[in-house]
Symmetry: C2
Subunit: 250 residues, 2 copies
């Protein structure tokens, strides 16, 4: 089973459409993968689904693909934000990769009282999100925001969006999510040191917040992110009632 | 919030019990953490729960702790095996870490037709499982087996144990797990290249197997492991009906 190369491109896709390659894409296709004219790859841009495209020509620094046929319809992820307090670099990268794989629509690093992280480089995180979407067969790359203070995000919380928050000191059965309303949601993963008492009091008082326990053991933040995404997707997202092969073609 | 050092030890624990330290443990406590006599750490051995223990004395190469009081009762994980086809080293390490955090009792690397991995070093994986148990507040370290052929494991399958298997080409809603029988289970995560047609036919024909879909996107094996553990723990394990703070003390 040889998987075709999948590329995220920032260009419209459609029958007969030519798609220019960036220098890193050209390097990957022609130097690393050694593809020649006529070779077929898969492309997606977050709007037009997935297309098979053939190499029209290229050099080390550029080239073009020609769209052949749509291979998959656009599959928008559910309207789910993943908010998390950044941690060590490798584990932050991992959270972004997993959020993209598991179908979050927007990834928001938030700075909390006890957040202890190097500067968050949103451009690097975006590159991870793109790579994960390319690998997992998704047709959309989640938006990755610059880091913001958690308090500021809560100050401007949009009407109608619910918040699932996970913190080892909090209570609430994950199974209760099955009975929660569907619609726009956000998941909030606390920092490794937990929330501050002030933060916890504020979160508890939010009328749109649902506290959810992730079992009797303390999970690392990266584990908690995947576990929370799983619970949400199964209870309220696009895994709910899903029973079929992954990424079925159109 | 300063978390106490937690150590897994292979020695009985009980009131007044002296516990010898291995050279790496002595190095960690006395050189890295710079603890002195009287300093308190937490220890567990997989049998006697968690104990507070005080440093009695030590050198660079050894030392002893004295048990003071039990701080947590033994919390056995559910009787759940995690079987997975080994992948790249960092992601295999990650699967073992997550399985220990999330409460699998036994971790079994299995070699399938399409498994493409370096040799699996069970001793290294055990070290990862111990570190994860130390970090997550668990009182048990899961058993880590040497790699075995998947076919041989299925040939000697124990009576009464059910198998949840996850493969992107398979169907089955995760929500159906809520209605599955409790008791001994195993989770099987397929290799990155999927199962071979023969393997798939065999798995489908097993009377104790339950195919479960992990949503409409293809997940990497490490993501699939955490997602499958989450679904199982919530539906059938010790997260089911759990609604309280993580790792409550006795």
């Amino acid at each position: 089973m040889t998987a075709k190369v999948r590329l995220y491109v920032e260009h419209p896709l459609g029958a007969g459409q030519s798609v220019p390659l960036t220098p890193p894409q050209a390097h990957y296709l022609f130097n690393v993968m050694r593809l020649g004219p006529g070779a077929e790859v898969l492309v997606f841009n977050g709007h037009d689904g997935e297309w098979a495209a053939a190499v029209e020509g290229g050099t080390k620094r550029g080239g073009t693909l020609g769209c052949v046929a749509q291979t998959k319809a656009l599959q928008l992820p559910p309207d789910l934000w993943l908010m998390f307090a950044p941690i060590k670099k490798a584990r932050t990268d991992f959270i972004v990769e997993k959020a993209a794989e598991m179908g979050a629509a927007r990834i928001m690093p938030v700075i909390t009282a006890f957040t202890n992280a190097e500067r968050v480089r949103a451009d690097r995180l975006r590159a991870h999100a793109i790579e994960a979407a390319e690998q997992c067969g998704g047709t959309v790359v989640p938006q990755v925001d610059e880091a913001q203070k958690m308090g500021a995000v809560l100050d401007h919380w949009p009407e109608g969006r619910r918040l699932m928050f996970c913190d080892e000191a909090l209570v609430g059965s994950g199974a209760a999510l099955l009975d929660a309303p569907r619609g726009p949601w956000a998941i909030l993963i606390g920092p490794e040191g937990g929330f501050s008492p002030d933060e916890r009091a504020r979160l508890h008082a939010l009328p749109f917040a649902h506290a959810v326990s992730l079992g009797p053991r303390i999970l690392r933040a990266d584990t908690a992110a995947v576990a929370a995404l799983t619970l949400w997707q199964m209870a309220l997202g696009d895994w709910r009632g899903f029973s079929g092969p992954a990424t079925a073609p159109i």
